[in-house]
Amino acid sequence: MTTPLFWPDWLKLRLPYSLRWEAVFDNKDVFIEGLLRSLELAAIGLAIGTVIGLICAFLRSSGYRPLAWLITAYVELVRNVPLLLLVFMFQFGLPQVFPRGSTERDFILDVLPTSYRTFAVALSIYAGAYLTEIFGAGILSVSRRYLDAGRSIGLQRFALARYVTGPIMFRTVLPSLSNTFISLFKDTGIAFFIGVRELSFAASYINTEYFRPIEGWVAAGVLYLITAWLLAFSLRFLESRIRWTV
C-alpha cells in the first residue's frame, strides 16, 4: 500500500519518496518489544532513582553541612550534564577505569554485562538527582504542625521521618513522580545509541533494514505520544483515587 503524504495520485506529481507503511506493520513486534523495553527502563530508573532520591533528600534535610553540600554537588552535577554524556561515561569510561583481569573489573562485568543494565544504572543516577530535588521540596512542604505533633508524642528523627514526613510527602509529590516517570520514559529514547533495543531502536532498525526512516520515526513518535498520553491519563486517575486524609 503506497500512499502519498499530502498529494493525491491524480495530481501526477512525482515525489522522490512514497510512503510504504508495510515496513512498519510487518515489524510491529519489534516496535512492541521496544515499547515494553522503554517502559521497563523507565520503571527501573524511577524505582532505583526513588531510593536514591529519598535517601539523599532526607540526608540533605538533616542539616549536616558537609553531607548537604556533597548531595547538592551530586544533584547539580547530574542536572547540568547531558544524559547522553552520563550514558557514555558508564558505557565506555567504566571499563577503562578498572583494568582488565582485576577483580573489580569482573565485578563490574557481572553486575553490568549488557548495555541495557548500563543504561538502567545511568538513568537511575539521572533520575535520582531530579527526585532528590522533588523529595526535598516535598519534605519542606510538610508543615511544622505535624512535626511538632510527632515530637510531642515522643517520635525521634528516624521515626518522625518514617511516620509523619513520609506519608504526607508521598501524597504531595505523587503528581511530580508521575511526571518524572513520563519524562524518564521519553528519555529512554537515547538508549538505542549504545545498543539497547528500545523503541527508537525499532525506528532506526526500519531505517537500516528497509531504508524507510520517515515511516519508522513517525511510528515511533506516534507510539511515544500515545503511551505518554495514556500514562498521563491513567496516572492522573490513580492520583485522584488516593484518599487525602491530610
Binding site: L5, L15, P16, Y17, E76, L77, R79, N80, V81, P82, L83, L84, L85, F88, M89, F92, G93, Q96, V97, K186, D187, G189, I190, F193, S200, A203, P213, I214, W217, V218, A220, G221, Y224, L225, A228, W229
Partner: protein
C-alpha cells in the same frame, strides 16, 4: 591510575583545538536555537491565550505533540522528512529547527502560564481604568509576566544546551561528538569525559546563575 590520568589529561590538552571547534559549533547552534525558540514561544504563547479558535487548536496540537514525543524523534523527523520530499535542508539547519521547535513548544507553555498568572486580576483592573487591549498588554500584563518567565526560561535554556549534545545522532560535529571521536581514537575515555563534564557543568551552571541574577534584577521594579 594517577599516571594514567596525567597522561590522559595531556592527551586532552593536545586535542584541545578539535574540542574547541566542537565547542564553537555547540555555541553557534545553541545561540540560534535559543533565539528562535524564544521568538516562536512568544508568538505561540500569545496565540494560545488570545488567538481565535483555529489558531488555538493548531497551537495546542503543536505544543502537545512536541512535548509528548522525545527530542530524538523530533530531530530524526526533521532530519529525514524534508529530504524525502525534495527539500534540501543542511544538517545544521535540521538540528537547529528541531531544537527550535522543541524549545518553542516549551516556551509557549512558559509564556502562556506566566501571562495567564498575571492576567487574572490585572486585566480587570486595567479595563476598569479604560485601557484597551494593546496598551493593557504592553504596559500592565507583560512587565509583570516577564519576571515570572525568567526561571523556567533559564531551565529551558539549560535543557536546550544539553539538547545540542544530541547533534551526535545526526553526525554533526558538536562538542560531545568531538569528545567521543577523540576519546575513541585515543582510547582515554575517562579524561575526555571528565573534561566534557567540566565544560558542560561550567556552561550550564553559569547560565542558570545568570538567569537567577536576571530574575532578581527584574523583580525590583515590580510590586
Amino acid at each position: 591510575m594517577i599516571e594514567d590520568t596525567k597522561e590522559g589529561m595531556s592527551i586532552v590538552w593536545d586535542n584541545r583545538i578539535l574540542l574547541w571547534n566542537g565547542l564553537k559549533y555547540t555555541f553557534r547552534l545553541f545561540a540560534s536555537v535559543v533565539f528562535l525558540a524564544s521568538v516562536v514561544g512568544i508568538f505561540g504563547g500569545v496565540g494560545l491565550l488570545y488567538g481565535n479558535r483555529i489558531v488555538r487548536t493548531i497551537l495546542r496540537a503543536y505544543v502537545d505533540i512536541i512535548r509528548g514525543t522525545p527530542l530524538i524523534v523530533t530531530i530524526f523527523l526533521i532530519f529525514y522528512v524534508p529530504g524525502g520530499y525534495g527539500l534540501n535542508v543542511s544538517p545544521f539547519s535540521s538540528i537547529a529547527f528541531a531544537l527550535a521547535i522543541f524549545g518553542g513548544a516549551h516556551m509557549s507553555e512558559i509564556v502562556r502560564g506566566a501571562i495567564a498568572t498575571v492576567a487574572q486580576g490585572q486585566s480587570d483592573a486595567a479595563k476598569s481604568i479604560g485601557l484597551t487591549f494593546w496598551p493593557r498588554f504592553f504596559f500592565v500584563l507583560l512587565p509583570q509576566a516577564v519576571p515570572l518567565m525568567i526561571p523556567p526560561w533559564t531551565n529551558l535554556a539549560v535543557d536546550l544546551f544539553k539538547g545540542t549534545s544530541l547533534a551526535i545522532l545526526v553526525s554533526q560535529p558538536d562538542f560531545l561528538f568531538a569528545i567521543q571521536k577523540r576519546a575513541t581514537a585515543k582510547g582515554h575515555f575517562i579524561s575526555f569525559y571528565f573534561t566534557a563534564i567540566v565544560v558542560y557543568f561550567v556552561c550550564c551552571f553559569a547560565m542558570s546563575q545568570l538567569g537567577a541574577w536576571l530574575g532578581r534584577r527584574m523583580r525590583f521594579g515590580v510590586a
